[in-house]
């Protein structure tokens, strides 16, 4: 049974998660590579760090909120997602750290960035799967229908994006921008606000 304090933290972190994903999208549009705009890249890494933290809290408490004993598959996916997003969080700032002089020169910043992507590739398959399954199962109660549809849309689109990317059919990443905008700027924030409302029912 989720406590009132846990539900309150879950509610706040879900809202913060929605806000930080929107900031990430905005920074992505402001554009520029790390070499062109290192301060913006560092800011983006920091926002990602905060976003990953909020995701961990939301998933962790959602396992209690939804009482998943009768939905064990979602429980396992949720546990793997918590570990995956934790790995993402602890590596989010690594490229920014490696850009600082005196922090070792074994790898370039680009290489460190690729290593952090490598250790979290599957996270962005497991986490959207969790969002999709939770949204589909708890649509209407306790997640508001609009939030669940946001989660179903975002989860499905991100999974579709991975299938397309793994198939190697579209190596040009420009193909993914429309999917990323709909999923990241509309679907996921809707889901996060919906989760916030779901947590609020237990305060």
């Amino acid at each position: 049974m989720i406590s009132s304090a846990e539900a309150k933290l879950g509610k706040n972190m879900a809202v913060l998660g929605a806000i930080t994903i929107l900031i990430t999208m905005a920074i992505g549009f402001l554009g520029g590579s790390r070499a062109e705009n290192p301060q913006l890249a560092t800011l983006s890494d920091f926002v990602d760090f905060v976003n990953s933290f909020t995701l961990i809290v939301v998933i962790m408490y959602s396992l209690k909120l939804f009482n998943l004993d009768e939905a064990p598959l979602i429980k396992v996916i949720g546990n793997v997602a918590i570990i995956g997003v934790t790995v993402a969080m602890i590596t989010d700032l690594s490229p920014a750290f490696s850009a600082i002089e005196g922090t070792g020169d074994g790898f370039t910043v680009a290489q460190v960035s690729e290593i952090t992507d490598t250790v979290t590739t599957g996270t962005w398959i497991v986490m959207p799967l969790f969002v999709l399954l939770v949204s589909a199962r708890f649509r209407g109660d306790p997640i508001p229908s609009w939030g669940a549809w946001g989660g179903i849309g975002a989860g499905s689109l991100i999974l579709l994006m991975h299938v397309i990317a793994l198939s190697g059919l579209f190596p040009d990443t420009d193909v993914f921008w429309p999917i990323w905008i709909v999923a990241g700027a509309i679907g996921f924030p809707l889901f996060a606000f919906g989760m916030s409302r779901a947590f609020a029912t237990k305060i």
Partner: protein, 207 residues
Amino acid sequence: MISTAEARLGRTMSLWVAITAVLGLVVGFVLIGPDSDGYSEQWGLLNGVVNFASNFAQVAMVIFAIKLFNIDDNPLLKLLSYITIVGVSISVIMSISPAAHAAGGFTGSSFSPTQIGDIEGAVTYGTWFVFPVWVLLVSLKERGGNLLPSWGSMAGIGASVLILVVNFGFLLSLLPDTIVPFIWIVGGVILYPTFAIGVSRAFASKV
């Protein structure tokens, strides 16, 4: 107390562990070949998907085994269970990385898929020390045959001892590379899947 739904999923996932262990051998030995060095452009994605499924099934098996075998009452085994869950989960999220890198797209080009596979191996190396110890201790704890069939616990003891001895043997450079196929077949395709099938039977008793 394990719920019926959890026991049912634990049973299915344990069977899946056994099946994917055999599939892994087919992909690794038959399709890719034991002499192949590095990422296979042809079979790398399939290999990644099988590893992903296998690791996911192992995480599920360990998570529900904690409830099934009352591991909460055994603090050392409980600790090893949590470390195993974290280690194998990291393997889950990295399984697809070499294939994703080979496919291109957002992944960058600083490293080759073979190097990405090596990074994956380096990051998860200790998992394959902790997990066999978990299998060994569970098999020893359950060797009475109450939940885990005795053939399952014997297979678990055999697989884990074999893997641990080989891991240390390689670390200390005491074993030749030629022993790998033998170990893979005996430990990974006969003994470990037999243990997993035994765990599946144990879960089935709670359905």
